[in-house]
């Protein structure tokens, strides 16, 4: 019985970590959907979200709910800037040779990697490489008893925020003209141009939306863990990337499900293995997926335009 409660507690912790990965993975998936390229700077957007949140907190000490809109705005801005700097310059080429060339795809990959390195270096320069503490009023570590289990306020805040954001995303994608446009560009970019969609604008919007989710994940984890550093985006970035690949690259429900699976597996595994082994779980799951489900668990063979 005690063991069961303990396990349940780990599952809940795992789910909250999983939702953080999910918020990140959705950004990856959305951006991969419209561009067919992985955005290597996504982890830095998460870090920027955390630092902007921290700066707002130390400068203005606003109520917690007011921090989120500012972080969302910062996320949207960094998404737009990232797209302009690292992705748009490579979309000038319309001839078949460059559109199909590996070199062009790799160049885009590398440009986002370069932007991510520059962003990290700038943050190191501004804030130093050490962990920054979060003012204790804003820490989300207070335990709350729900029946026999104890849940940290951070987990509850993560559950609530993720639920709201997933709902808002679903509304955006399936109930608005903007969302219809994003889905059209993901399905067939050339077709989208023929119906009169401004694809550049749609791509920028997608970066803004994906980065808003990523930046929010960053500040939530920052307040939960109580520490923020320029390197904090790397590990969740890798996990979210794995969730996207396992989910089939272009499936949002798939990415979310795999992110939750990763979070829970890690959380349970840390109880049986020493915590240094936890990343091994992620990578083992990735390898197993790629071997047995090369299209991802939820993949369905993506149509390419």
């Amino acid at each position: 019985m005690i063991f069961d409660i303990f396990l349940l507690q780990q599952v809940i912790n795992g789910l909250s970590i999983g939702f953080v990965y999910a918020l990140m993975a959705i950004g990856f998936t959305l951006i991969f959907g419209v561009l067919n390229v992985v955005n290597f700077a996504h982890g830095e957007v998460y870090t920027i979200g955390a630092f902007i949140g921290l700066m707002v907190i130390t400068a203005l000490a606003p109520p917690l709910v007011a921090v989120v809109p500012l972080v969302l705005a910062a996320g949207a801005l960094s998404g737009v800037g990232l797209e302009r700097l690292a992705f748009r310059p490579f979309r000038r080429f319309t001839d078949e040779a460059s559109q199909k060339s590996r070199a062009m795809r790799e160049a885009t990959l590398l440009s986002s990697l370069a932007v991510s390195i520059i962003a990290r270096e700038i943050m190191m320069h501004l804030f130093g490489g050490d962990m920054q503490g979060v003012p204790s009023d804003y820490l989300l570590q207070r335990p709350v008893a729900i029946g026999p289990i104890m849940v940290a306020t951070g987990s509850l805040v993560i559950f609530a925020t993720s639920a709201v954001m997933l709902g808002a995303l679903q509304f955006l994608l399936y109930r608005t003209q903007t969302g219809l446009g994003i889905r059209a560009v993901s399905n067939n970019q050339l077709g989208a141009r023929y119906v009169g969609i401004d694809t550049d604008r749609t791509i920028v919007t997608t970066f803004a939306v994906g980065s808003m989710l990523g930046a929010t994940a960053g500040i939530l984890v920052g307040l939960y863990d109580g520490a923020i550093s320029p390197h904090m985006g790397f590990a969740p970035g890798v996990k979210a990337f794995v969730a996207m690949v396992m989910g089939g690259l272009s499936s949002i429900p798939g990415a979310v499900a795999c992110a939750l699976l990763l979070g829970v597996s890690e959380s349970i595994a840390t109880e049986f293995l020493s915590s240094g082994w936890k990343d091994l779980i992620t990578y083992s799951l990735l390898v197993i997926t790629l071997v047995f489900f090369p299209q991802g668990i939820f993949g369905h063979g993506r149509e390419r335009a």
Partner: protein, 248 residues
């Protein structure tokens, strides 16, 4: 009313919905279009014929703003369209049912149609209804994924999607490709009906016989240039056209 008199003389003159002059497209070192000129009269069907790889699709892409042109001009309904971005072109009333159809296969038929009409959102419901009248097969399939339709149905969806924007000129790039003769006939009959409802049509085809049957005027392209043009009936009778495109 002297002003009326002036207007009158201009309206009796032939109105051209599209005037293309010396259009050039270059990709890398290759010159794909080497100066194409053609006209589409308001209310007519114009066909562009030509063998594989002569640049028909490139011409259509240049007209829709998908390819940048490196020379020449395009005037549509009196407005200079040269190198306008694709989204501006559609908004002005020039829509295309492109080569390869380019429908949204993972989205429903309804969503495909809605996307076709997104540049003209006021009367979209009425437009959709009109399309379903014109293509009754699509009504049964409204909630199905577009990718699950048959080839003929996908072609109809592609044309209906383009018509959703209520274009003044409809471009069609090989609508007959890969379809059974029955379906081809059905689609070409529809083109005549679409024209009678006031939409001018510019049609690219390798199926010269079907195209010349419905067209008023036709152009023949070879290696990035127009080499022959004329009244569709005259061209159909021309021995050079018969030898090259109508199988002797």
């Amino acid at each position: 009313m002297p002003l009326d008199a002036v207007t009158d003389t201009t309206t009796t003159a032939v109105r051209r919905i599209l005037e293309v002059r010396d259009l050039k497209v270059r990709m890398g070192s290759q010159e794909i279009l080497r100066g194409v000129s053609l006209d589409v009269r308001e209310g007519s069907i114009v066909a562009v014929l030509g063998a594989n790889g002569v640049g028909k699709t490139s011409l259509m892409r240049a007209l829709s703003g998908i390819y940048r042109t490196t020379g020449g001009t395009t005037v549509f309904a009196g407005q200079d369209l040269t190198n306008s971005p694709s989204h501006a072109v559609v908004k002005l009333g020039l829509a295309q049912a492109p080569e390869g159809r380019q429908i949204f296969g993972t989205m429903t038929v309804r969503e495909n149609l809605l996307l076709g009409g997104r540049v003209r959102s006021q009367d979209r419901a009425a437009r959709m209804e009109a399309m379903l009248e014109l293509f009754p097969r699509l009504r049964e399939r409204l909630s199905q994924k577009a990718g699950s339709l048959s080839g003929g149905e996908q072609q109809m969806l592609c044309i209906a999607r383009a018509l959703m924007s209520k274009p003044r000129l409809l471009l069609l790039d090989e609508p007959s490709l890969g379809l059974a003769p029955m379906v081809v006939k059905q689609i070409f009959d529809l083109l005549v009906q679409i024209r009678s409802e006031g939409t001018s049509i510019l049609l690219v085809e390798q199926n010269a016989r079907a195209a010349l049957r419905v067209a008023d005027h036709a152009y023949v392209m070879e290696a990035g240039r127009v080499t022959l043009s004329g009244n569709a009936a005259e061209l159909a009778a021309d021995p050079r056209v018969q030898a090259a495109y109508l199988g002797g």
